[in-house]
Subunit: 491 residues, 2 copies
């Protein structure tokens, strides 16, 4: 993989100076076209060995293009907010929005490669990290991102020379640190690991460009040209994202049975309700105050039929909690900042810190529920969402989150009764809109969407809890009990 990057490519000064003005103009032009189109973000990932000119090239790209519309991120030590959250959090928050160019100096590749090379993780860990990256990049591609990944390479001999050279001059000496030499000592292992990772992640969606880093002019021109070509091709290409998947979901009428067989009428009498409510609220309150929970977090997802009582159930949960520790995220239409990013971005920004509780009132499942049924997302987009969501939840879980997902189900008649009641009660009037009545007409389509959702995202690590909700008492107690059990098993 690195052989051709060790041939010692060089560009003469004359050739460089002849090309740069044209290249610069074309890059600027492409940059403004990207901004004007506002259709997709551009992400350039700059990785590679130390001393191969990564920093200088990033500098040059900022010089050639309009730096006001580029955001360069160097990922060094994470802040405390970042350190508490899943490793991908800091990258998610740095992703460029549509129309902008982001340059990642260091990226999600840095830690896995370094940790493997220094034997802090083993091969299966590395494979998992690689899988996670492939997954992320495929999703970003599907969400419209143009991603260009550069790997700056130097042969062992050239790297040694380069570091020595930098150390000689007082102007550049500061750039060579002990860490650089420590890395150099691991050159062979780093090379082996990098090559493996690059091979595994050089995909159709986000191929690697290996750049011979030995000559400044060559590597700058190469990087500039590749970036230009990538932006230009994408700008000129018609928008033809696949809108249907290879194979449709066969209408599996049988999987809605699960939902239909739910005995939505299960109930609790008032007295039992009072006792159980107190019992589980007390238990919940103790569990989240436990020492063990301080290093964990709790994520609750509430979905359900309209008027199924999500709000009331949430209130019975928060009734047991200290308002300083929880945050409720009501999920409605995205803001324009959210719309300019990949779908999951708006949920990543609410990732809980240690000891925090985040309650989603509707959630990322919107894509496979309302967006599917109302044709707001095309089939390819909501079909890939199942897989993306599973991966997303896995990352949060691996970071210590305890996740409970609730689907609250009521019967059609009960829904009608509640709609009417809401229309008649002054302080509930906000809870019923024309949209609710429209949704009600699509009962069967929603039923199918829910069944598919449960089929495809109820995993052993993140199961759905179906809640029979015609009786609010029963539903609330079931929700509380489920949360208590999940917490108890975890802490």
């Amino acid at each position: 993989m690195f052989e051709s990057a060790e041939l010692g490519h060089r560009t003469s000064k004359a050739a460089y100076e002849a090309e740069v003005p044209r290249l610069r103009e074309a890059l600027l032009d492409a940059q403004y076209d990207v901004a004007a189109a506002g259709r997709f973000p551009v992400l350039a990932i700059i990785s590679g060995v130390e001393g191969a000119g990564k920093g200088e090239t990033v500098q040059r790209l900022n010089e050639w293009m309009d730096p006001r519309h580029i955001r360069t991120h160097g990922f060094i030590a994470p802040s405390s907010e970042e350190a508490e959250r899943p490793p991908m959090y800091r990258f998610w928050r740095a992703l460029p929005p549509r129309g902008r160019i982001g340059i990642f100096f260091g990226s999600w590749y840095t830690m896995p490669i370094l940790e493997r090379a220094f034997n802090r993780i083993d091969d299966p860990d590395l494979d998992r990290a690689v899988n996670e990256i492939r997954h992320l990049e495929r999703m970003l591609y599907n969400e419209g991102m143009l991603m260009v990944k550069f790997w700056f390479h130097l042969s062992k001999e050239t790297e040694r020379e380069r570091l020595r050279e930098l150390e000689k001059s007082p102007r550049t000496r500061w750039r060579v640190t002990k860490r650089d030499w420590a890395l150099f000592k691991r050159y062979d292992k780093l090379r082996e690991v990098s090559e493996h990772v690059l091979r595994e992640t050089s995909t159709f969606e986000a191929p690697w460009i290996v750049v011979d880093g030995s000559d400044r002019r060559y590597r700058e021109l190469t990087t500039g040209r590749v970036l230009l070509e990538a932006m230009r091709r994408r700008l000129d290409a018609p928008e033809t994202a696949p809108s249907v998947t290879a194979a449709p979901i066969a209408p599996q009428m049988d999987n809605v049975v699960l939902l239909r067989n739910l005995d939505v009428d299960r109930s609790l009498d008032k007295k039992t309700y009072g006792e159980q409510l107190e019992k589980y609220q007390g238990r919940l309150s103790l569990l989240v105050r436990s020492r063990a929970f301080r290093r964990r977090s709790l994520v609750l997802v509430f979905e359900g039929t309209d008027a199924a009582g999500k709000g009331g159930a949430i209130r019975r949960v928060t009734g047991a909690l200290d308002p300083r520790n929880y945050r409720i995220v009501p999920v409605a239409a995205p803001s324009d900042e959210e719309r300019a990013q990949a779908y999951l971005w708006r949920f990543w920004r609410h990732a809980p810190g240690q000891g925090e509780i985040v309650i989603f009132d509707r959630s990322w499942y919107g894509r496979v529920l309302v967006e599917r049924v109302e044709d707001l997302a095309n089939e390819a987009d909501w079909m890939r969402a199942y897989d993306e969501i599973n991966e997303f939840e896995e990352q949060w879980l691996r970071n210590g989150a305890i996740l409970c997902k609730f689907w609250l189900q009521i019967g059609r008649d009960e829904q009608l009764r509640r709609f009417k009641h809401r229309e008649q009660t002054r302080f509930k009037r906000f809870k019923i809109t024309q949209e609710d009545w429209r949704n009600r007409k699509k009962w069967a389509a929603y039923e199918q969407a829910v069944a598919d959702m449960v089929d495809r995202t109820s995993t052993e690590i993140a199961p759905w809890t179906l809640v029979e909700a015609n009786d609010k008492h029963f539903a609330r107690v079931k929700v509380l009990r489920t949360i208590c059990r999940a917490l108890k098993n975890a802490v």
Copy 2:
């Protein structure tokens, strides 16, 4: 101030239970009206002595209203991102947007009061903190926020009893910490300081409500009633913010002389430019790498006539910097999340961390420039902005920021020449729009706005640098030299 809160107000169980259902319904109703109107945010600040039921009341408010549209913030230890920034940063990022209710449990009052009571700061420090708070609250009021500040009070005797009582039961024992007793030991001093601070900050814009905390039912009802009344009054009031200031700015034709007398034609020959550029870029590059700068930050503000060369000047600055350390914030139309907040919110979110450089391409001065000239802000709003901006900059400076503000000025003829050139150059075409031509017609109005801006915001701690910019070489070198001097003086 606290006398009437020591009378031992009580509410009987019967009275409480009779009122709560009505109060709750009315609160919910008001909450939804606030959300539907989307005109203003509501902020309830909950402060006071330990053991006075602050936490329980916050809990109750979340229970009575719809917690999905409330965001409660407890301000305990700041995160590393917050600790590096000015103290107000963490409060700014937690402010509720229009239409939402925020509850601050702990607030900008906590630290000044505690630090004074424990003699960690002295009276002048406290006065400064109080001034800063008054300033902030006045601004938030002017920006439309409804602010209700509650102080929960207990007499010394009652507080002692309360703490002992909590310690008795195993269910509540965890709530009493060593810190609570340490605070109790300072009761008298805390009372004295609090009383002083409350008196100084009980303003028309944000009055304090002192609540007798000795009886649970009384304090809950009182808080609920006050909050309800505040929301209701505000909802019912016509939108009659004053749109003009008491006294107009007299057309001070003389202050534009400063700008007009500027010799915009000052120039540098190409050779000198090359030398000076290298010299100051080298110096800048060293200065920001200095050890001392690691605990400081650099904030650059670029404003100027259209086509005055802001972008080119910024590029010469960033040419000397490591792209990982700086961030350019191009200021254009606000996003909808920004529009839902007070004006300065969109700049606070870019506050630099330690060792960081933030470059604003246009800035918070937009309010007194384009918004003033184009009538996008009314007179009262842009008039108060001068003062708000000075205060804002002072906070950043006090936190270690080094601030340079540049106004780049070119002559009218030069502007015309540049506009025409831009229209003819392909990769500069984006730089010239119909709006630029329209602005050009308002030359005199902009001149006046700039003169007033410099008059009112060029303070000794944050002076403006007027840059003669007909000759780009001269302008760029002046900018670089100014930054180097400011850094040299500071680090």
